[in-house]
């Protein structure tokens, strides 16, 4: 491909006009970038980025895929929100993906992507992400970069501390951000304290199609904010931060910040498995949806589940402990060896580092400082091993490199601080523009970080880009962390509001990326795999069109005999078998969206004609020199006057 470009370039004889492309306006932070910054993020045309970044869309409900170091956007994967561009949530095949116990929900707030792991290292099979508002978790298959599974979470009031995987993808976890009555019932809000509860869910992650809540742990009604699972020696444990241990239900801004320490909940999930196996659980009535997109039938189904297994800490000693941590901690991060548990007290200046070994010793030595609703609270000094005092304010989240360093974002002082794991000394600091939330190093929450780049996801954009009215895109910043000093090398915009991201070396994902859906494996019940089998069938007011598409025509492309009041199902199969040859489909007056059908795939659009006439439909994705010609007509008569149903192509 490269040689091709060169030969053509040579053929045409490119000659020498030079254009300097440095536009005016040296940037505000230009002084913060190294003079060779441009070359270190430059990915030449036709070249690939070194890393995939999966950035959550926050309030967009989606997951975007961007390249590092270039920051280029490759795809926005629809997860929890409908996406008219891709027909997600509009076509018949994917509507069930967004079903919940509250009915069809076209939106959510997607926060934390998490890649599947094998032996503590991202393995490129799946990316998981949480839906915060109507509590859910989703699986995205990294062969197709499509959402293939969504599981709703009962007994949760907002799924924030999620998904945070265990080292062999045994579980993804889900802790509730807002505690609620469990089981749900109406009650006076001033009785919340002591009556509301939280649930921590452990969900099997490594069986596609079978995402299951293995168990939930009912916990005191604090707000469970973030989590990370242990690794190496701490494998078998998951740590959740809490805030609002005050259990305030109003003016949380003030009332949930009274205690000078909240807790890190340490859950021994191996112990939970023992209690589960011993039958020491209750099967609690619940109602929650499990939705699965089956690649064989290319269709999703939604099933409603009716019970969930619940463990009560009071009856399961050794299952969960609380470790004190100042002040309303947000991030909870485990270093690559699994030795240290770093709590970022977001309303304090310092980071608190607890030691896994000390924690185990404290548990064995019963170094308790009372209990919270029966859950033992470990003595702070018995578990703490260090404090990182950097002078920064509002630490939020920490990731690690492969050289024993840690990087913590500070929201209030708007900077990233680099420090040494073990000595806790501060090594470097760089400003962020502006107000960094989470940060991400590819593999930075795993056993083997690729410590080359760090991305800061900033909450405030202001003057970083050309203004676009009151609403600005969110800004991410890329730092080179390969040397001693962190170097800001790129600003790039993101989609929605990324709360967190995951990165992975492209070599782990790229070889498995699927190029087409094979026609001979398409088991869609309404597939039409040969043009000679294209047809239209009427069943009362339902009309099923078995349609094919290929460059650049539909079969059939003329249909008559439809009537106002019909429900017309266009089941359209793309007969192409070549990479990057999708076709689109839509009909004038369709109340949903287009279809965007990949090679070998079948999708269904419903059209309910409202007016008589001859209505065009066409291909919406430019597919060939004859794309403009890829079009057909639908003849619609008044109710009862459509005439005989007929269809044809080329006559």
């Amino acid at each position: 491909m490269k040689s091709l470009k060169i030969s053509i370039a040579a053929l045409i004889g490119i000659s020498g006009l030079f254009i300097g492309c440095q536009s005016g306006g040296q940037k505000k932070a230009a002084s913060a970038t190294g003079s060779d910054a441009a070359s270190s993020v430059y990915v030449a045309p036709g070249e690939y980025d070194e890393f995939y970044a999966f950035m959550s869309g926050g309030f967009s409900g989606q997951l975007s895929v961007q390249g590092l170091p270039s920051g280029r956007v490759f795809k926005v994967i629809p997860v929890f929100s409908v996406d008219a561009e891709k027909g997600y949530g509009f076509n018949e095949e994917t509507k069930p993906m967004l079903n919940t116990s509250h009915g069809f929900i076209p939106w959510d707030d997607a926060h934390h992507p998490e890649l599947s792991q094998t032996d503590g290292v991202p393995d490129g099979r799946w990316c998981f992400i949480n839906g915060n508002n109507t509590p859910r978790v989703a699986r995205i298959d990294l062969k197709t970069f499509e959402t293939t599974e969504i599981l709703e979470l009962p007994n949760s009031g907002g799924n924030h501390s999620s998904p945070f995987i265990t080292e062999n993808s045994e579980y993804i976890v889900a802790g509730t951000r807002f505690s609620v009555p469990i089981p749900q019932r109406n009650m006076p809000i001033n009785l919340a304290k002591g009556n509301f509860k939280g649930a921590l869910s452990f969900i099997t992650a490594n069986e596609p199609g079978n995402m299951t809540i293995k168990f939930q742990i009912l916990v005191p009604g604090f707000d469970y904010d973030l989590a990370h699972s242990g690794k190496g020696k701490s494998h078998g444990w998951t740590f959740f931060t809490t805030y609002n241990t005050e259990e305030a239900h109003t003016l949380k801004e003030a009332y949930a910040s009274q205690n000078d320490k909240d807790y890190i909940a340490a859950v021994n999930w191996k112990k939970a498995e023992e209690y589960l196996a011993a039958g020491n659980f209750t099967e609690m009535p619940a109602e929650y949806a499990h939705n699965y997109y089956d690649e064989r039938t290319q269709s999703a189904t939604s099933s409603m589940l009716k019970t969930v297994k619940v463990l009560d800490p009071a009856k399961c000693p050794g299952l969960i402990y609380y470790m004190p941590c100042p002040k309303s901690p947000h991030g909870i991060d485990v270093n690559p060896t699994g030795d240290y548990i770093v709590g970022a007290g977001k309303l304090s200046a310092d980071l608190t580092v607890h030691s896994f070994d000390k924690m185990i010793a404290a548990i064995e030595g019963k170094q308790f400082d009372g209990d919270a609703y029966g859950i033992p609270v470990l003595k702070f000094d018995a578990v703490n091993i260090g404090t990182v005092s950097s002078g920064g304010l509002g630490p939020l989240h920490t990731e690690f490199d492969d050289k024993g360093n840690a990087y913590t974002s500070f929201f209030i002082s708007s900077e990233v601080v680099k420090w040494k794991v073990g000595t806790w000394e501060v090594l470097d600091r760089v400003p962020c523009y502006y107000s960094v939330g989470h940060l991400m190093i590819p593999g930075g929450d795993s056993k083997k970080p690729w410590g080359k780049y760090m991305v800061a996801m900033n909450k405030i954009t202001k003057d970083r880009y050309l203004p676009t009215g009151p609403e600005m895109c969110h800004s991410a910043q890329l730092y080179d962390i390969s040397g001693e000093k962190m170097k800001l090398i790129l600003d790039f915009p993101t989609m929605g509001e990324p709360h967190y991201a995951q990165g992975i070396h492209a070599d782990v994902v790229k070889p498995n990326s699927q190029k087409i859906y094979r026609l001979d494996e398409n088991e869609h019940p309404f597939a039409c795999k040969k043009e000679s089998e294209a047809r239209v069938e009427r069943d009362g007011k339902d009309v099923h069109v078995y349609m094919t598409m290929i460059r650049s025509h539909f079969a059939p492309d003329n249909i008559s005999g439809l009537e106002v009041g019909d429900r017309v199902y266009f089941h359209v199969t793309n007969l192409e078998q070549d990479w990057d040859t999708p076709h689109g489909f839509s009909v004038l007056g369709a109340n949903n969206s287009e279809l965007l059908i990949m090679p070998g795939q079948t999708e269904t659009l419903v059209w309910e004609p409202k007016k008589e006439g001859v209505w065009p439909f066409y291909c919406t994705d430019f597919c060939s020199a004859l794309h403009q010609e890829m079009q057909g007509y639908l003849g619609v008569g008044a109710k009862g006057q459509g005439g005989e149903l007929k269809w044809s192509l080329g006559d």
């Binding site: 491909m1 490119i14 254009i19 003079s35 060779d36 000679s532 650049s552 990057d580 060939s624 020199a625």
Partner: protein, 166 residues
């Protein structure tokens, strides 16, 4: 996929070099960003006028994985399988009894070498770009392009066997 613009892009490729100087230190950002033609794997019709001289089709083996084929007596088992494959993957664009989107394969073995036919099935993008005969067929087909249907060599061979009976 943006095929239409290609010829135009090629025509106007200009003689333009943009050099984007970032900071202007040492060897750093002196990359020359050539204006790209985004050829990708797309069969891009060349802007040259179709050449009348496409050579002798019966000596043209085409471009692709197939370098030489020995044809023995027709194998009816392969013919049956080839026919089935043709119906599934090709009839949206080729009909045996008439020219449709692409030419009818009837009598193709008198017009083309077996190697050329298989290379056309297996490697159409490159064929359309580089093989003068394939290019001409495309011009004659109203700029519609032969699709890569991801056939294996074995499947293409079976289709060829079927073509021998037409």
């Amino acid at each position: 996929m943006k095929r239409l613009i290609l010829p135009v892009a090629i025509l106007c490729v200009g003689f333009i070099y943009t050099s984007c100087g970032g900071g202007g230190s040492t060897e750093a950002p002196k990359e020359e960003k050539k204006v790209q033609m985004n050829m990708g794997s797309d069969p891009a019709p060349s802007a040259e006028a179709p050449s009348a001289d496409v050579g002798d089709p019966m000596t043209n083996l085409g471009i692709g994985p197939v370098k030489s084929i020995e044809l023995a007596a027709i194998d009816q088992g392969m013919v049956a399988e080839g026919k089935k494959l043709f119906e599934e993957y090709c009839t949206a664009c080729h009909k045996v009894d008439k020219k449709f989107i692409g030419p009818s394969p009837a009598g193709i073995m008198e017009r083309r070498t077996p190697e050329w036919v298989m290379n056309m099935i297996l490697n159409p993008e490159e064929m359309i770009q580089k093989d003068p005969l394939a290019k001409q067929v495309m011009m004659e087909s109203n700029m519609a392009v032969m699709a890569n249907q991801n056939m294996t060599e074995d499947q293409a061979r079976k289709i060829l066997e079927y073509f021998r009976t037409l």
